[in-house]
């Protein structure tokens, strides 16, 4: 039986861990060490709070404990180095001790830095996803392992390797600027959307863990949209995830089977998530709204805006897929576009041309796919085409 204090500690950890780890990482300049220190502080809380009660300002308590341990750790390192220096007098003087460094108040920037370091290009995509959930979302290694259907030891090793890779690459704890920002931000958004899709599209695993992953991804997305509010794709990703997630409860039938978009009971869609998602899409459009997440969010919004499947604005969806083809040049997107065009104009319309927005280079492959698809194209908007699962999931789920 979990005690009330332990539940309170878990809640405090969820609220404070990202800011705690991020604040510590700025001071000790090593995200792995920062996380260890934060974990030590959590253990101290688990030992002391059941006796002393939860402190009034629990975040500050955790930070004070973690900093004190950080100072000890660095002192030990400095002492060790001093001993070495006695033997190698030509080495430079050691730096200012940690406890003399001022604790700056730019906490929000710290959390944004934490996102960027967790999704750093020196890491594999799997490692970025795991580190983002560990460092920013504050999930335990066990929780992440369970959600991704791997053994805890496997996930623990992945996280340890990732932290080591960051230390070895001496990755600076900073928000990238200039041209680098766009690339790095897209890595962060990609990791968040992967978490979402892991929860949204997978059919294996415990149901609750899946829904939880979607919620974690939406939380991370909303954090990013506040911390990097000037970047339109952060808002667009929030919009895309929220509008898709609004269908979660309509998407599973009474026997646990997946109900496709055209057959879902739209009354069961989560209107609050749709409204929040549409507001996020508005913000994205006010400051840009031409990125790939924005286009995908607009497509999701078209579905959300149709009271019945038959009311879907396939003309607009086909045109949006055209924009997306131009941007991503992905064969799956082309396929979705072909389906959308057929829904809009009937099955013959798309066969001659992939449309003005598609790059010339894609024409041959595009029409190849169209020919391959022809026998299975739907005759009306009411009938769902029978196509390979991966091809139509973006359209119909």
């Amino acid at each position: 039986m979990v005690s009330a204090t332990q539940q309170a500690i878990e809640a405090v950890w969820r609220i404070e861990s990202a800011r705690l780890i991020a604040g510590l990482a700025r001071i000790v300049r090593d995200v792995g060490l920062a996380e260890d220190l934060a974990q030590d502080a959590l253990v101290a809380a688990l030992e002391q709070w059941p006796e002393s009660g939860v402190p009034d300002v629990p975040g500050a308590w955790l930070m004070a404990v973690a900093r004190r341990r950080g100072v000890d750790t660095i002192r030990r390192a400095v002492t060790l180095r001093s001993k070495v220096e006695l033997r190698c007098r030509d080495l430079p003087e050691h730096e200012t001790p940690m406890d003399e460094i001022e604790f700056e108040p730019h906490v929000e920037d710290d959390v944004l830095r934490l996102f960027f370091i967790a999704c750093h290009p020196v890491l594999s995509v799997d490692a970025r996803v795991a580190l983002t959930l560990k460092l920013v979302a504050g999930l335990s290694t066990e929780e992440i392992a369970r959600a991704f259907l791997v053994h805890t030891t496997t996930m623990a090793a992945r996280i340890t390797r990732a932290k080591k890779a960051l230390t070895e690459a001496n990755v600076p704890f900073e928000v990238p600027v200039g041209e680098e920002l766009a690339d790095r931000l897209s890595s962060v958004l990609e990791a968040v959307y992967l978490v979402f899709n892991e929860g949204y599209t997978a059919t294996a695993g415990e149901q609750w863990a899946r829904a939880e992953l979607c919620q974690e991804a939406m939380r991370l997305g909303r954090m990013l949209a506040t911390l990097a509010a000037g970047e339109s794709e952060t808002h667009a990703l929030v919009a895309l995830m929220e509008i898709q997630a609004s269908r979660l409860r309509a998407r599973i039938g009474s026997d646990g089977e997946i109900v496709t978009l055209d057959k879902q009971d739209r009354a069961r869609w989560d209107r609050l998530l749709i409204m929040h998602g549409l507001a996020a899409l508005n913000r994205a459009e006010e400051i840009g709204g031409t990125g790939s997440y924005a286009i995908q969010a607009k497509i999701a919004a078209c579905h959300a805006g149709a009271p019945r499947a038959g009311d879907t604005d396939w003309v607009r969806i086909a045109s949006l897929y055209g924009d997306l083809v131009g941007l991503t040049r992905s064969p799956i997107v082309e396929l979705n576009r072909a389906v959308a065009v057929s829904m809009a104009d009937g099955p013959a319309a798309h066969i001659c041309s992939p449309g003005p927005a598609a790059p010339d280079q894609a024409c041959s492959t595009g029409s190849f796919r169209c020919r391959a698809l022809r026998p299975t194209l739907p005759l009306s908007a009411r009938k769902r085409p029978t196509m390979p699962h991966s091809a139509h999931k973006a359209l119909f789920w």
Binding site: I15, Q215, R222, L273
Partner: protein, 140 residues
């Protein structure tokens, strides 16, 4: 899960006072923290009950409209938020960080979701909904 956060009315909120500039700034900072944590789905304040209405139903479904203000200030709602959080404990921890003073009360209520319904009831509802869907598909 979603939690509805109900800020209970005070004599000041019922009098239509918005609060001082300092209180506003503190609420702003709090709102910013919540936004940065990604938990807020909706949030708004309400006019005092003097500008509100109540609609009462009798046994036959006849209605009576009652104009505000309403008594029992402490039971009235002055503002609300809907948060998406992992647990009720998380919501409680967040409320503790609010800059309220002077006997303010905040009530937390979980928004019902699938796990709140018993399996048999859920199956019954879902069968009824399947029927409704089938009727709609048939154009009935």
């Amino acid at each position: 899960m979603k939690v509805m956060v109900l800020g209970k009315a005070t004599e000041r909120s019922e009098a239509g006072e918005f609060g001082s500039a300092e209180e506003f700034a503190a609420m702003d900072r709090y709102g910013q923290q919540l936004a940065e944590a990604g938990v807020v789905l909706a949030s708004d304040g309400l006019q005092p009950s003097s500008k509100g209405k109540r609609v009462a139903f009798d046994a036959d479904g006849n209605t009576t409209v009652i104009d505000g203000p309403f008594a029992e200030t402490k039971e009235l709602v002055a503002g609300f938020s809907i948060w998406e959080v992992a647990s009720m404990d998380e919501a409680v921890e967040w409320v503790k960080r609010a800059p309220f003073r002077d006997g303010g009360v905040v009530e937390l209520r979980k928004v019902l979701d699938a796990e709140d319904f018993s399996e048999s009831f859920a199956a019954e509802i879902s069968a009824a909904e399947d029927q409704l869907r089938a009727d709609r598909a048939d154009g009935r």
